[in-house]
Structure formats: C-alpha cells, structure tokens
Amino acid sequence: MAEEELRPAWSQSFTPEAIQQLDAVGPFAKITPAWAWGRSTGKGLRVAVVDSGIEHDHPAVGRSVKGGVIVEYDSRAKDYYRIRPDDKPVDVSGHGTACAGIIHSIAPEAEIYSVRVLGRNMSGRAIQFAAGLDWAIEHDIQVVNLSLSTSLEEFFGIFHDLADQAYFKSMNLVSAVNNIPEPSYPSLYSSVISVAAHDGHDPFTYYYNPKPPVEFGAPGIDVEVAWNQKQYLVCTGNSFAAPHIAGITTLIRAKHPELTPFQVKTVLMACAANTHRRAN
C-alpha cells in the first residue's frame, strides 16, 4: 500500500510559526477594524445558533435570546424530522450556550435564536442539523453559527445546496471545522466562513489562512465559556472559535448592511491580525 500523505491538522495553520503574513493593498488597505466594526453592537441583526439549545436566562447571554425552535428526529415523519417552537430555550448540554455567550459578548445587541438540533438521539443528527439550517434560511436570519458538522458523504449535496441557498439570501454561515482532520460539511464549502482554533485570548484577534479550506483562526483553546445551569467551564475546541468570528461578522453586517456575504469575507480578511495594510 502506498503510504498515505498526512493532511495537516486544521488548527496547525494558526500556530505562531505557521501564520503567514499577508498584505492588503489598494482599496483593501483602507479597510480597518475601526471602519469595519468600530462602535457596532450588532443591533438589528438576527443570529441563529444551530446547536444543543441555549440557556436563555444564563447571565452570559443577557436578554439576547429571543426564541427559537427544536428540531427532532422522527423516523415516522415524512422528512424524518419535526420542528416545534422553543420560546424560552434551554440547553441540553452547554455547547450552544457556550457559543451564544461568545457571540453575545462580542455583539451585545444582536438578537440570538436557538435552533436546537442536538439532543438525546443516537442517530439522525445529520438530518436534524440540515433541517435546522433550513429553518434558519427560511426565517430571516443574517448570521448562522454552526459549531458542528457532519462527515457523512451522503449529506455533501444536501448541505452544499443549503449553503448555496443561504449565500443567495445574503446570509453568512460561520462554521467550525471538525476537530479531527477529515472532510466535514458544511465547513469546507467556499461560501461558508470556516474557523479553527488558535491559542490567543483576545476576542478580536483572528488570523486569515491563505491556504484554504480553513480560512480563519480565532480563540478556541482554554477559553472560559458559559455552560448550562449558569456555570462556566474552561474549554478547548474549534467549536468555540467559530462564534468569535460569527460575533465579528454580526458587528460588520450590522454596521454595513449593504455588504454581501463575499464582501463580508473580504472585510474579515482585510482586518485579520496577520494582514498588513500598505499604502500602494
């Protein structure tokens, strides 16, 4: 057997020695964090957290959680799932609350919606996940945080189609890449903003990786996050990096509602900590 070449771990692009220094020139050199998100609070934006729910009364999310839905797997239902409203969401694990807490800390005036797709189900998660994303696309959401993914090949097409629908509706999907270096969806599609973890702690310091598929690196190592039952935990995972970028994306979109999803990505790249603005 020919020896398989090892793929680099997704997060390795963001170790201090691996980060590449990039130049922003011409009009891109004029894009600064102050212009991009200075004084923005995320007001007017609707952000969905597709996850394990959100503890709506956790101090870390303030009063930002405005409702949501629960997507359940049902082998007898026509499309194998059903959706019911969740006006005062709870979290079955803590993962969604952790993500929502990070987004709220960055974009305190954004409205957050819980799309619970994870729970006491041993199978059918990818179906729930796809249905939850579909719900967000149909309900006037501008930014979606996806700190989960599927590696099931048969869902490649379904998620690709959903990612395209979101893109053409001018939504930004922000997705954590899998924690093991294997293909996972929808994080690796070009229209999605994919995020892995770096070990910094400043929420606004993130990096751009010019060698996709993983484009952005944000704090996700030993970060203190909100947890269910009003707790806090120190956690590591790409899951906690994505909501940092989702929060910043929310700020940018709230301040510049005219921007399209690809322009938002350009602004994110221009404001990355490893991008240097040069006068022509």
Binding site: M1, D222, Q231
Partner: protein, 262 residues
C-alpha cells in the same frame, strides 16, 4: 517539559497517526476474538501516548438511558468497569448529546455533576478530553482521557489524535457487535435445522443477515449462507448432520470460553 521531550512526543504522535491511518486505509481493524482485550489495549495506549493519568471507554445503553464503562485504565481502573453514568450528565453526556469532542480543564472547580460523580469513584480528574465513538451517524459511546500529566489541559492536537483512536475503537466495537449478531443468526438457524421444521419462516434470520451485510461491507457472503441453509435443510440426514457439526465448531470457536485470542 523540555523542547527535546516535546519533539520526541511530537514524533511519536506523528508515527502513531501514520500507523492508525494506514491500518484504516487498508480496511483492517486489529479485531480479534476478544474485543475487550483490544479496547483495553487501546485505552492503555491512549493514556500513555497522551501522557494522561487515566483513560476509559463508555458505551451507550439506549434502553436504560445510561453510559456504561466498558474498559478503564488508571487509578480507578477496573473498579469503574460496569459503572453506569446517566446519559444526560457530565462531560461524557455532553459528548453523546452533541456528537462533538471536548477538552476541558478545572473539572474539579466547575462541572458540578462530574465532580460529584468523580468523588463517588474516589478519583477526581483536573482535565478531561472526550470524543464520541461513531458508527456512521449513530453515537455508540465516548472515549475519554483524563488528567494530562505535565500540562493543565489537553490541546487541539490531542483532540485530533484521540479522534483517530476513537475511530479504531468504534470499528472494533462495531465489528464485535456484528459478530454477535452473526452468532445469533447462526445459532437460530442451527436450532431450526435441528428441529427440521422446514415450514418455519426464515425471514427473521434473513433480516438479521441483511442488516449485517448492509452495515458492513464484506458480509454479503452471509446471505449466500442463508440461502445454503435452505438447500441444506432439504438434503439427507447425514449431510445435514455434517453441516451442523461444521457450523457447531464455528459457533464454539466464537464463544468466550473457547476464544483463541483471549
């Protein structure tokens, strides 16, 4: 930790990664007759490679809505095996709920439920790295390593590597489940042959065999076997007895008392 040690560990981790990938790429698992022995060795290897004080594998029991310690290595070790853990509690429950791996530190300070459970076992970890065991989209259990030695927490690279260990463990568990199903199907088939009840509906056996072949490539032979059952049942007495003996030997070999690789 010195940078020399660091680079040694990095090399070891890389070699292990290569080994795991090549095993997986060749479509083999190291499954022997005793999957517990294999799982024991996987958790022990994981603990050593990750520089962890302990490691364990918990399996989902959907009927009782619990996670059950299948194998464990470390201070609480064998005492934990068989211990049940509610499906919706603690770090392991989190992994089952979300299907996501997690690394967390300061368990003793923050995670109430884990601390209480840990205290009841007499072993309170400071850091945990846990990852799901997946069979396709289905979560069948959780693999954990506890207490990183020489560091306060497990890192992203540890998480990636544990994911690879978990894939091997999940394959081993999955295969041992298949073997168990096959045993059941064969034993059922043998019982029916022995009773020579030719009118007996064989759809149940076929469905078990179809399940097995659907879930794992390389099993379609079993359907052929099922067809042969039908033919055999129509043969004479001596041929039928010979077949029963051959299958009996096989079934015996798979029973725990006669395992060759225990």
């Amino acid at each position: 930790m010195t940078s020399d040690q660091d680079s040694q560990e990095h090399k070891l981790a890389e070699q292990l990664k290569r080994l795991l990938l090549s095993i997986e790429a060749s479509g083999q698992t190291v499954l022997s007759g005793s999957s517990d022995a294999l799982l024991d060795s996987i958790v022990e290897a994981a603990a050593r490679i990750f520089g962890a004080g302990a490691a364990s594998i918990l399996l989902v029991n959907e009927d009782e809505q619990v996670l059950e310690f299948r194998v464990a290595y470390g201070p609480a070790g064998k005492k934990l095996v068989g211990t049940k853990y509610p499906l919706d509690k603690g770090i392991a429950g989190y992994v089952v709920m979300t299907g996501q791996p997690i690394a967390t530190s300061q368990v003793s300070k923050d995670a109430r439920w884990d601390r209480e459970f840990a205290e009841s076992t007499g072993y309170v970890p400071e850091s945990i790295l846990a990852t799901p065991l997946l069979s396709g989209d289905r979560i069948i259990g959780v693999m954990e390593v506890l207490d990183k030695i020489d560091a306060t927490s497990f890192g992203i690279q540890d998480m990636e590597l544990l994911g690879m260990f978990a894939r091997q463990a999940a394959l081993a568990i999955d295969q041992s489940e298949q073997v168990r199903k096959i045993e059941e199907a064969l034993i059922l088939g043998l019982k029916r042959l022995a009773s020579s009840d030719l009118k007996q509906d064989s759809s149940e056996i076929l469905s078990v065999l179809e399940d097995a072949s659907h879930e794992r490539a390389g099993m379609p032979d079993l359907l052929e076997l099922a067809r042969l059952f039908g033919e055999i049942s129509e043969l004479g007495e001596s041929e039928r007895r010979a077949c029963i003996q051959i299958l009996g030997v096989f079934a015996n070999l798979r029973r725990p008392s006669a395992r060759r690789f225990g």
